[in-house]
Symmetry: D2
Subunit: 396 residues, 4 copies
């Protein structure tokens, strides 16, 4: 790869860097110190870990290798804030993150400040190879990804506290999909999917390629809470026929009866939201369902979930961005997928088994972090992301 240098972009990148880093911190403003620390379940990380981990990325992949004379903030932090990057050191077992009271929240903010100052100095030197610029951009997208996780993890932490604390009143209001449900027809044929263009994308979106789709119909909007409530009230959680075998095991083991955060209190359907416990808004798109629930709902309607190719091909025909939409596609490599060399190469490929693809974006997705080729992925049983359901059918 030709090593161009980017003098002018280094200022632009610094601006972006500063904006994104500040946004992460703004998400934490409503928190008490205590909220930064706990880890209620293994897949939810303490907020201070997100703050440290995203910082560790810039320190490890940019400052240490490229900033002359950079002095590491604290040698122990590599152990504490590393995530899944096996090439960079021993990984902390995820379930242990919630046991670490130190480094303190103040320490983590000092760490952020220190790295930010060093990054600023580094970027102000004005000479940036293409490789470093790419790493920086990757680090910024990595941080944006953690911004949404930060929000869903905070919601999990507060939403599982018996006091149901409010996070904030100042979230953007959700757009309500009041339109009538229409199934959009998409004809059979060859289509192209995958990233194209000059902006940033993850390695898993690369390799734009031809795929062949059979005719299908896809909903113009998401399933609402009211519609999902019909499924519940029709006994959807008590009839194995709608469920995958492992989904049914999940229902029985968890004694699941509704999406995450739903409570039936004195006969009223309530849910925990970032604004606190509220009455369920029947017109809003259903949220916090897992793949099993999304599939079961679709089966109950006599339909199915779209594949990720179907979703991408049809996505220009409908509005999206309120909920991550479960697809019927497993998270697998695109044709010709190649891992990047080095630690960054671990980014996405190693997760390509036992997870399902979600498409779109959500109310929790950071500004500028969505595109129609974005391939999000989670395990089938997880409910804690801002996930929803779009119906699909093989023929109208």
């Amino acid at each position: 790869m030709e090593q161009k240098t980017f003098t002018s972009t280094s200022q632009a990148l610094l601006t972006q860097y500063t904006t994104i880093r500040r946004y992460t911190e703004s998400l934490c403003e409503p928190l008490e110190v205590e909220d930064y620390v706990v880890q209620p379940v293994a897949h939810v990380s303490p907020p201070k870990w997100h703050l440290g981990h995203t910082t560790w990325f810039f320190e490890t992949f940019i400052l240490k290798p490229y900033a002359a004379g950079y002095s590491v903030f604290n040698n122990q932090y590599n152990y504490v804030f590393n995530s899944y990057y096996e090439t960079v050191g021993a990984r902390v077992v995820r379930t242990d993150r919630g046991n670490l009271s130190r480094p303190s929240v103040a320490d983590v903010y000092h760490y952020r400040t220190y790295v930010d100052e060093q990054m600023e100095a580094f970027l102000n030197q004005g000479v940036l190879t293409e490789a470093v610029a790419e790493l920086l951009v990757l680090g910024l997208h990595h941080e944006q990804q953690h911004q949404e996780l930060l929000l869903t993890d905070i919601k999990y932490i507060l939403g599982h506290n018996p006091l149901f604390p409010r996070y904030t009143d100042e979230l953007k209001p959700e757009k309500i999909p009041m339109e009538e449900l229409v199934m959009l027809q998409i004809p059979e044929g060859q289509y192209e999917i995958g990233f194209r263009g000059s902006g940033f994308c993850y390695d898993n979106e690369l390799g734009r390629h031809t795929t062949y789709l059979q005719e299908f119909a896809i909903a113009n909007r998401l399933v609402t809470n009211g519609e999902y409530l019909d499924f519940i009230e029709d006994g959807g959680y008590r009839d194995f026929r709608y469920w995958h075998s492992e989904g049914w095991d999940w229902v029985k083991t968890q004694q699941a009866e509704a999406p995450l955060y739903w409570y039936l209190i004195d006969g009223q359907h309530m849910y925990y939201t970032l604004r606190g416990l509220q009455q369920i808004d029947l017109a809003a798109p259903v949220c916090h369902v897992n793949f099993y629930e999304a599939s079961a709902y679709a089966a109950w309607k006599g339909m199915r979930l779209p594949t990720e190719a179907e979703w991408e091909v049809a996505s220009s025909r409908f509005e999206w961005g309120e909920r991550w939409e479960w697809t019927g596609s497993a998270y697998l490599p695109y044709p010709g997928f190649k891992k990047a060399a080095g630690a960054v190469g671990e980014y996405n490929g190693k997760f390509m088994v036992n997870q399902m693809v979600l498409r779109g974006a959500s109310v929790g997705t950071s500004p500028g972090h969505s595109r129609p080729t974005y391939r999000n992925f989670f395990h089938a049983e997880h409910q804690w992301q801002f996930t929803g359901i779009r119906l699909c059918a093989s023929y109208s």
Copy 2:
């Protein structure tokens, strides 16, 4: 569906029925009574359960609904021998199967004899609707599927006994893939996959459809034990870079160092086979690897596993049938997949999550139970089937 009656085929079906039922029993001939009973791990069933469960299928789906005046052998057996058919009654928790000393092996054989006699009488009446004929054929394929499971479960039971008992000397010799490895080139373009024809297939093969493949190259033969040993000796099980994240967790948790049944005894590479403990045959195709191992091996070679579509399209170009070949495809519905109505409808669709497709057949597959469109599937961590590896690459 038009209700044709099959007078003539009922005799042909009876012949098939008898042959297949006898074959199941012949697989158990080398066993001691005690071998029929144990369940060393949750995913391995006791042989007597297989004998009973396949019999229960015919009793439940044919004799009870269609044979006038049929009297159930034992009402409790529905509970004991039901598998995953939620519509037919409460399911026995799989892990409990190994606790049941009764019904005795003799009782289970009485049950088989009773049901076989009743089936014979029923089929000798000579009038068979198409629906019943289809159920019968499904039952026969179901039994053949369990024949291979019987064999792999027996191998697991004997192969985890410290006395390493021999099962038999009379297995068909394995064909040895001595040919030089050649990568067969397959050009880009539209292809059709899925079942076509008039014979039997499972619901998951139906819906022959167009798919689009990018150019790829696929090996003319399976990976051998000798080649796999190179991977082991090169430190393949100690280098996370070749592994999926969950595969690496599996390696560490299991302290995995080799395929299932391999032992390093006094410096010699040995493995347990159905003929007892033997020296590893370096020229034979590697067996008892899971998806993680198959993927890691391919990654170490700088290649990958084929998708199931690639495999099916190329399958006429190479020999197959020695090992179930892990593909890079998750087990998902084909376009337009529909569950059948009723209990039989649970057959395949409910497993379409969190499993990987295997293609081909193996030394343990029953005669007549293989075809190029057959979609076998197991969880990524399972090694106990006769599974192997075929390499694939995106460009030659």
Copy 3:
């Protein structure tokens, strides 16, 4: 220790040996081969393991060291049939016993026959040192101990089978404690407890010593099923106040509502017995309660369980032998307790933590295997022995 030789007793010991060994086998006569193999839970051993383990004791501790030219039956059996004797070889993990289909039941009986013949030949040589005679007697008591375990394990295996198979009709009838409940007064003072005399006892009974007891009253008979049913019907299993904290956890985790083997079938109180499923005999002593249940019952009555010293001191005043009687004493060493040297020394001392003492004997205890100083012991949560309740109070 003076090395006397026992020419005459060797014949007497041979007679005893033969009688006790035959009795073990007679207990297995009603079994199917399959019943010998399974291990439904970790603390229940497969009958064939008991048969092999008791045989292994004589092979390991007598034939191998003392019978000139003895040839071991099968070297692998040490691994398979060793129990907790760490000094003699690697121990099989208990939970794995139920996975071993081999050695077959026939093999185990061959093993018994072989060892019995060798023991007979050895004892017919007529010269026996005191040390060997003591080991032999220990081995015979060890086998008798396993005879009762064999019976309780068989009951567990058959009683957890949905077919509820009958074991036998030919058990000795239980004596029914129809007498009126009387609390026997025992005055305060010094008493002696522990084994005295010339017969056999276990190491844990040795060290007869003075103990001081406060005045107490102890019941002349055991609690009956009818009396225990009053406790159940009064909500005993729903009121934490009667339970130890860990007992209450046990109740909630197990959703316990009654002793082991009790079923409420169509409004009738039934229990599984070795004669099959039967109506509960209200006048018979309650059986298959654990320490938590025994304590809770006593607390509900405003009383308590006797300590083992109280039981032993008072035991000449009441009949006992129907049920192992839970005491309020933890299983701990007597003053001056010493482990024997060598493997036999592991016999009892190593279990002296986290278990409770039971006194008396039961309907399942082998003839000649009971004495008032016998210290039986089990974990507080175990119900599967023939255990019952005798009330005690600090003052009448």
Copy 4:
């Protein structure tokens, strides 16, 4: 019970109350907010839970029933800060305590202040029944018990953090048992044990009673780190003969090689202390051993642990108070033990199974919270208290 009123003592009690409550808070002074929140393992509670729980005791048992017009601080806190008092409300599962970021540390301190003000007002009214005075005294001792737990839990939290943060430099220096080990002889005979006098004791110490002891010898001082190191270096953790069976399972499962907090770093024996990581002081009494380790050490020395009666009888002959000393006695009721009525009655009796008694006191015990009849108790496997070893022998 005669209802005396205590006008004068109410002021004395208020002084005591204030002193003890302040001491709790002083123990937390070195903490960061984050340290109050985490729960690394189920048996270690977050510091803020201790602060809240001890406060809840006074609110629940004194202010709510006895302070006219008392208004509960927060109704939810009963759920959050209740411990094992089943009579007062649903109990929080212990393992969940570490997931609760709210109430915040500041909220908990507000709760303390509120309750303290109310208690002050209540006590200043000057009229106190004996029942209330007794509850108040119980609450103060309860808080002192939690003060030591607070310290051991803080040590666990900081000592399991990879940064090994220092708690404080200002702990009282440990007295070093430099004296030569002497075994003190105690003659056989009747002795009295149990609480006598007019001060406070727990219900489990009541019922002073006669017991009979055989002659024994007990060490004049505790086992030192240096002596324990000899045991380690002699292979004590690799020889099952010194261990209980369950102790040996613990060694193997935990891969235990030394007391808790010991590390071998670059060939140096180090341990985590409240002053941070330090070289092991060979002359100091060994600390953080569990019952299994204490027993194994004693067995290796050819001795044993004292019973609690032996300890109490001999305790006037040696110095104690540095370490909680494991005894060979299980935690069981004294003769005539009676639970108090009501919620307070749950205090001690319900734990009387599966735990071992510790006698003495430790460097972490609060001033004024020790006496020779005090019966402390923990499960045999726990190491995190300030526990040590005193040797005993049946004859000198």
